[in-house]
């Protein structure tokens, strides 16, 4: 009896060592505890018309990506490829909005399918023309908010479409949800929030919530997610979330980890300013 138990224990030992030797180095993150470890690097949000390759990582801020009301898809694509060709870890952000008013006062309306086409074209272009896409391009980041005019279910559908699109991309490319759940027209509930951000990858997004308020902190801490890319801001968030350490320290679990082309382990936060 004791021999059988010993054999089982030894087999368990082998499994434990194999798992800890093979899986943990890939994961690179410590087991989840109540507090996040502090991310060692930041993506910096840089607007598409500007070029700044100096940050550790860049989020190309594309805004709506629609002609007449934001930076154009061409601007966003070209800038993303430029960063990739310069060897920078890069993510491309889009803020899908249902309508907007242009500088001449004209009102434009956009559909969900229009944004699906936009995302499809963006991904196709970057994968085709970017250098080392599979190891440098984090993928598409969706800024989804109630006041952008799409419902929670529409937003979840677009996130799901983006996931399907990214499944066909190489390497590390995936999608992120830089969600903010509070608006004047609606405030998304926990279940709506969950449906938009989805499960942990590969079934859902990398979560990049805007941690500016207690409500956002609470929604984020209630989801089943292994790693969080905390979006924080010094110059645009109210106290006390305008401190990186406070925003990051408010969130449970380990930070988003992606080494890109480095042989070192990199954990990340997302700096919006």
């Amino acid at each position: 009896m004791r021999g059988i138990r010993r054999k089982k224990l030894c087999r368990a030992a082998v499994v434990s060592v194999v798992l800890s030797s093979c899986l943990l180095p890939i994961a690179g993150s410590s087991p989840a505890v109540a507090q996040s470890s502090t991310p060692i690097a930041d993506f910096l949000d840089v607007y598409a018309p500007s070029y700044d390759p100096s940050p550790s990582g860049i989020v190309v801020e594309g805004l709506s990506g629609t002609n007449g009301c934001g930076y154009t898809l061409t601007q966003i694509e070209d800038r993303t490829v430029q960063y990739l060709n310069a060897g920078r870890p890069t993510i491309t952000e889009i803020s899908p909005q249902a309508h907007c008013t242009d500088s001449g006062g004209g009102v434009h309306y956009y559909t969900l399918s229009g944004y699906e086409t936009l995302i499809s074209n963006l991904v196709s272009y970057v994968v085709t023309y970017g250098s080392n896409v599979g190891s440098l391009w984090g993928g598409v980041m969706l800024d989804q908010e109630p006041d952008f005019g799409f419902s929670a279910s529409d937003s979840a559908a677009l996130a799901s479409y983006t996931r399907s699109t990214m499944l066909n991309t190489p390497g590390i490319c995936w999608y992120y949800t830089e969600i903010f759940a509070v608006g004047q027209t609606a405030t998304w509930t926990q279940s709506q929030f969950d449906s938009i951000v989805g499960s942990p990858p590969p079934n859902g997004s990398w979560k990049a919530p805007q941690i500016y308020t207690d409500y956002m902190r609470n929604l984020t801490n209630a989801i089943n997610q292994s790693e969080i890319l905390v979006t924080w801001s010094t110059d645009a968030a109210p106290y006390p979330y305008n401190s990186r350490s406070y925003a990051v320290g408010s969130i449970n679990g380990p930070p988003y980890q992606q080494n890109f082309q480095s042989s070192s382990t990199y954990t990340w936060a997302n700096h919006f300013n």
Partner: protein, 206 residues
């Protein structure tokens, strides 16, 4: 690799009762670890290099997500409040920490953004049910170092409240370039506010 090995031995120690079994397991584990190293398993920690090409890239890589353990959501993290920083908005921008913040939120809805602008401070609010968000501006005299200090209170009565065009939803800060604030007005679109001329314009100015 050694850190991972240590973690593996910790796991092992918990699951074994006797010292003999522990020792036997440790020897076996060491052999397994060496085999793994020899097989190159440990090299997976290295990120793909530029020379790996699409053959490596074609496999989707999710760093650690599937194997990460569940998160303890029963405990709410409570990090220490940040040290006073004169360059950013202080407790007056939060209803929990000041009566100024409380009054702002009560009148104009939750504060979405707050920051420093040339000559003062700005706030953007989400608004309330049936009431759009607003842009709040607090002007400082050039010589007023107290006003320029974010740690001092900025009383409600000294704020100027502006309703951006569109009568839309919440107001969101996008960027500050020179004296021009770019905002997003919910269900309306992008607008700019020029602090020097005091005028709004619709659309995104590039």
């Amino acid at each position: 690799m050694s850190a991972s090995g240590e973690r593996g031995f910790e796991t092992l120690a918990i699951s074994m009762n006797s010292r003999a079994v522990r020792a036997q397991g440790a020897v076996l584990s060491t052999i397994v670890v060496f085999m793994i190293v020899a097989a190159g398993c440990g090299n997976q920690q290295d990120a793909p290099s530029t020379s790996t090409g699409r053959s490596v890239d074609s496999v989707k890589q999710f760093a650690g997500a599937p194997s990460a353990p569940p998160i303890d959501t029963t405990s709410e993290p409570a990090p220490p409040l940040p040290s006073p920083d004169p360059s950013v908005c202080g407790p007056w921008s939060n209803a929990t920490y000041s009566t100024t913040g409380e009054e702002i939120v009560s009148r104009y809805g939750e504060i979405r953004n707050c920051g420093k602008v040339p000559g003062g401070w700005f706030l953007a609010t989400i608004g309330k049910a049936g009431q759009p968000g607003v842009l709040g501006l607090y002007y400082c005299r050039p010589s007023d170092s107290t006003c320029a200090d974010g740690t001092t209170d900025h009383p409600f009565e000294n704020w100027h409240w502006l309703r951006p065009p569109g009568n839309g939803g919440g107001v969101k800060f996008i960027s500050l370039q020179g004296s021009v604030l770019t905002l997003y007005v919910g269900n309306y679109g992008y607008v700019t506010y020029d602090l020097s001329s005091g005028t709004f314009k619709t659309g995104l100015q590039q």
